[in-house]
Subunit: 336 residues, 2 copies
Amino acid sequence: MHFLFVLGCLFIQACAWAVTDPLPSWNEGPIKSGIIQFVKETTTKGEKNYVPPEERIATFDQDGTLWVEQPLYTQFLFAIDRVKILAPEHPEWKDQEPFKSILHTPAGEVPSFKGLPNHNMKNIELILAITHSGMTVDEFHDMICQWLKVTVHPRFKKPFTDLVYQPMLEVLQFFEDNDFKNYIVSGGGQEFMRCYADRVYHVPPERVIGTANKVKYEYRNEQPILLKTPKLLFVDDLKGKPESINLFIGRRPVASFGNSDGDRQMLEWTQAGKGKNFELLVHHDDAVREYAYDNDSKVGTFSASLMEEAKKRGWFVVSMKNDWKVIFPWEKDKRQ
Amino acid sequence: MHFLFVLGCLFIQACAWAVTDPLPSWNEGPIKSGIIQFVKETTTKGEKNYVPPEERIATFDQDGTLWVEQPLYTQFLFAIDRVKILAPEHPEWKDQEPFKSILHTPAGEVPSFKGLPNHNMKNIELILAITHSGMTVDEFHDMICQWLKVTVHPRFKKPFTDLVYQPMLEVLQFFEDNDFKNYIVSGGGQEFMRCYADRVYHVPPERVIGTANKVKYEYRNEQPILLKTPKLLFVDDLKGKPESINLFIGRRPVASFGNSDGDRQMLEWTQAGKGKNFELLVHHDDAVREYAYDNDSKVGTFSASLMEEAKKRGWFVVSMKNDWKVIFPWEKDKRQ
């Protein structure tokens, strides 16, 4: 490419977009052009929908929106493995639910957490509390890093951090390149996601918002530590999402991305803002390349009423099957 | 100044520092040179204490560190005014403490909140809960803006947002110019501070951490709102400071600034980091230009044991009387 041509493009953003497709893994269509149009309008000075850089806040759900959430949230798979590690210290668990089911499941299989995510919450909270507390924040961080290194997904046989959606990575990058601040706003555990969010999504720890337990400031060998406790501080799901967005960011997002009923309020909150805004839901309808689930799912439910609301409010609904050329980064070569 | 000279300085940061004093309101001495030395060492590539930009986190207490906290925290003065506004709806308050004392105080005088901040916490929490809830986050924001516009400090007769410490504004600016991310980490209310922190300190809402009550996502006329509730989520003071730093930032600060026992753990946590770090306490010893208080203070106690710890750990302790040429921005002309 000619030097002067490149130089010219530096000054004309529209030109840069024409030269490079920011979303090469997306099929052409109203959603792809909707994303590009939104970024163009909100970042071009003089446009009536211009949004100053400091207000360019984009919030992304994680499980099912940025990476695979089936057959069970990754964090729960970690919790299950940790129950097995802790079991020798708790001989009573082998006859006691929910531990019994976990311990009796053959290796490589995923135990059934009946009725996830809306039922049996007590058991789920118990497992998460027990497996995610009692260590310092730093120790937990190392534990997750180590676990992510050695564990693979039961179906794809790849590390979980490889099971991210290539089209969504492109959206994150496109937004970041246009001075948006990308936040993760997830029902998942904040400390858990912070272990890899920077490396995988280029989202730094201070922009990772998730369900959080209390930590406790203490001294160990006269050195201060932060100990993870089993006590829940807040659940970052459903109504909790706009609430925690307010707590952490103190600004309303101008773009929000989700995939389930848990993201409904975040998208509503974003849309109720005064200026131009953007809302998108990922719909899992590709059983061949990933998974197909909606109403009846135990993980990441996409209810009929959510679909209805999306239509009524004009939210974009991605068909993974039709809108995405590839699902995962390692399939990039297959793009046509 | 010659153009080429200026251009040269752009490439040689040290040169820029030599030309412009980043801290003109500070008297020369070990603290001023300590601040400059710290920034130099942590931002010069190749130095053994170099800190990459993303890890340059600096945390600042607000009351007594960035602005005046006597005779009472500004936010409490707002709460007192609001009790008076709400009183007609609560005729029972005129015979009921803590409202009675507030309502019986002559205009212009500050009612005595006996034993602030460590005693009578129940009453203080009650007043804050009642005066800071029942409205949406946006309505509260407007309320604070309006109050700050029309209210002056009882002694200085100036708006509270003018009562910020000029030497500390220079530190904030100096850090920001060197790619530090400045956070406010205060026992004060998060929503309260967010109303002016950007304008006054150039600290955006997402970097304001403070004591927070729960907000509640609801619908009003089919539009989503966030309602402020009286229910406390966490207190951002003492041990709560490193805990909330972890919650919000997920990184350890490399520099922390405070002025009271409430900041002790934040400074300890900062100092326990692996790399180069910086800790500073502002000591109020200037009754002529501002206030002098320490052990016996009801607001912003600086205990003997804190002074002892500061000496033991090598934290800088600012004497406002000796280290600061001027206290407030409007006194800048008086600098010699």
